[in-house]
């Protein structure tokens, strides 16, 4: 029995090493001087540390520009998807009307639409709209990719907020909009944060459309820029690892925020008192 317990723990630790190693290797490589990287010596732990790779990546042609492009496109798309998705979620969850079932199904199916397979018509459509090589085309597509997901997930979060809370506010003299704004919206906070983080990560990661629609280098997003690191960095693995670390950082921070918000469980016990 004890032997079994110990062996499970050992397996779990080995798995933890397997999952953590690439991250560890990315960060430590980013801090290693170039001469340590291209050498045949064996160093799992860095012997000397330098910030020069980060400086090199930061100052590399195109890094800041593509970072700006990525932020602009992702944030615009996610904000729009969140707003439009929230309106739809509230309607689907709180209101009763003809065709509601149809809308819910439409959202479910749209959420599973394989966007990668729509590359060709999207490309042609953006060409007709004269949006090729223009960032709004990416913002539009990322909006479309994340919208069904946002609407669907937010619907779940709205469902989770007891209607009695809104009704109580209406008894106390709030209008329907007032009740929604003062009661439901604040309680929806964590759900909105979680949804927006996942939507943001989707847009932040997107590669196929960014590669296909933005042929102009000035419009590259960060993933496309980083994928060409071998042309940008040569065999400068330190610079590539530093750039990857910088690319990972915002996502990691966002993930940690959601983790904390998700466990806080704001509505727990709200009706009991």
């Amino acid at each position: 029995m004890i032997a079994k317990k110990v062996s499970s723990n050992v397996i779990a630790v080995v798995l933890a090493l397997f999952f953590a190693f690439p991250t560890y290797w990315m960060v430590t490589s980013a801090f290693k001087p170039t001469r340590d990287l291209s050498s045949s010596s064996y160093d799992l732990i860095p012997l000397s540390v330098t910030a020069q790779n980060f400086a090199a990546a930061w100052n590399k042609e195109g890094f800041l520009r593509s970072l700006g492009n990525s932020l602009l496109v992702s944030l615009t798309a996610v904000l729009a998807a969140l707003l439009v998705g929230l309106l739809a979620a509230v309607a689907m969850s709180r209101l009763r009307f003809k065709g509601r079932k149809g809308f819910v199904l439409l959202m479910l199916v749209a959420q599973m639409a394989p966007f990668e397979a729509l590359l060709i018509p999207m490309f042609l459509m953006m060409r007709d709209l004269d949006l090729l090589d223009k960032l709004p085309s990416l913002a539009l597509i990322y909006f479309a990719v994340t919208l069904p997901f946002c609407a669907w997930t937010l619907r779940g979060f709205v469902n989770g907020i007891p209607l009695e809370l809104e009704e109580a506010a209406m008894v106390d003299g709030c209008g329907r909009w007032g009740a929604f704004r003062r009661v439901t919206l604040p309680l929806l906070g964590p759900g909105l944060v979680a949804t927006s983080v996942f939507a943001f990560v989707t847009a932040w990661n997107e590669f196929l459309y960014a590669l296909s629609l933005m042929k102009d280098q000035a419009k590259e997003t960060l993933p496309v820029w980083l994928s060409g690191f071998q042309t940008a960095f040569g065999t400068d693995w330190g610079g590539a690892m530093a750039a990857s670390t910088l690319f990972t950082l915002p996502v990691l921070v966002f993930f940690l925020i959601v983790q904390r918000k998700m466990v806080s469980g704001v509505t727990a016990g709200a009706v009991k008192g």
């Binding site: 779990a12 060709i120 209607l163």
Partner: protein, 327 residues
């Protein structure tokens, strides 16, 4: 799935209606017609966006797949109908069948491996001490959160021919043949590395979901099994598996959807190479459509992708829609 949430919020409340209506009109009626319209107003932006940016492209994809549309036709704005020519062209090409088979095998292997690993890790997490569990969860979160391209770049560095840590380690362990070994010289080996990367990033989400499902299984069922003297395998088969089965099915279905369309990693590694040996359907679609500007042919490839995806996920999709229909 219960239907508790459509209560009478949609019914107009007289409290709010008159306040919104203009004075002197017929407040009640105007209020209620606004209320009747409200859901549609709220849904209109989402509905319009989905029709425009998903519905229309799907339609246009089907139409394009029956047209000859290369750069010449595109710049001149010509519409040339060719019937099924695009389909006969791709289906008549033996390479296409190899690529299709490769895509299906890659998808099934990656999905199978990641769902199985996710399940095993979820069950393992129940057995280990809390500290070890938290460490494992944090490291999995790291793998999950890493952006695709960052992960791809790191894997290329780890698998690097000359200075990669993997080859160095293997040589140190006595496998001298791995000095300067190239992991990307064949398509199978390239896809194996890519598959490992995809599984590594997919397992955390699967393990977290299945762990959440596993800790929800009532404890007394296990106690009953223990009293009956069930072996661990019997306990798994008669207690754990029946409870987790629906969740495993859903996760398998979702993984199919996600892993079938893997493009980023394959392209970033070797652009479908060496010599096209790691090309899958999404890569082929990109090469035909965007690189060569054969939009009609590429559209036919996309349609085949959609059909295959439909076949792979049909059973589950049907059940899901039936279930949501009862909402």
């Amino acid at each position: 799935m219960t239907a508790v949430h459509t209560t009478d919020a949609g019914v107009p409340t007289n409290k709010s209606a008159p306040r919104r209506a203009a004075p002197g009109g017929a407040p009640r009626r105007r209020g209620s017609s606004f209320d009747r319209l409200l859901p549609y107003l709220l849904l209109a932006p989402a509905f319009a966006a989905i029709l425009w940016l998903i519905g229309w492209p799907v339609l246009s994809l089907l139409v394009t797949s029956f047209r000859k549309l290369n750069l010449k036709e595109l710049t001149r704005g010509e519409v040339v109908w060719v019937g099924l020519d695009n389909y006969t062209e791709i289906l008549g090409n033996p390479d296409f069948w190899i690529i299709t088979a490769r895509t299906v095998i890659f998808t099934v292997a990656v999905v199978g491996l990641s769902v199985l690993s996710g399940l095993l890790i979820a069950l393992l997490m129940r057995q280990v001490s809390p500290v070890v569990r938290i460490v494992l969860q944090v490291t999995m979160l790291l793998a999950w959160a890493m952006p695709l391209i960052a992960a791809t770049t790191v894997y290329q560095w780890i698998f690097d021919q000359q200075y990669g840590i993997l080859n160095k380690t293997l040589v140190k362990l006595g496998f001298d043949g791995f000095a300067g070994y190239s992991w990307f010289s064949t398509g199978t080996s390239t896809l194996a590395v890519i598959g490992l990367l995809v599984v590594w990033q997919a397992v955390p989400f699967l393990a977290f979901s299945l762990y959440a499902g596993a800790i929800g299984i009532p404890r007394d069922q296990y106690e009953a099994a223990a009293i009956d003297g069930a072996s661990p395998w019997q306990t798994f088969r008669s207690v754990t598996w029946p409870e987790l089965r629906p969740l495993v099915m859903m996760l398998t279905f979702l993984s199919m959807l996600w892993d079938f369309k893997v493009f980023t990693q394959i392209w970033a590694f070797r652009k479908g190479g060496p010599d096209g040996a790691s090309t899958t359907l999404p890569v082929l679609q990109y090469l035909e459509g965007i690189s060569k500007s054969h939009f009609g042919v590429a559209a036919a490839v996309s349609v085949v992708m959609m059909v295959l995806l439909g076949v792979l996920t049909f059973q589950y999709l049907r059940r899901l829609i039936k279930q949501e229909g009862t909402l």
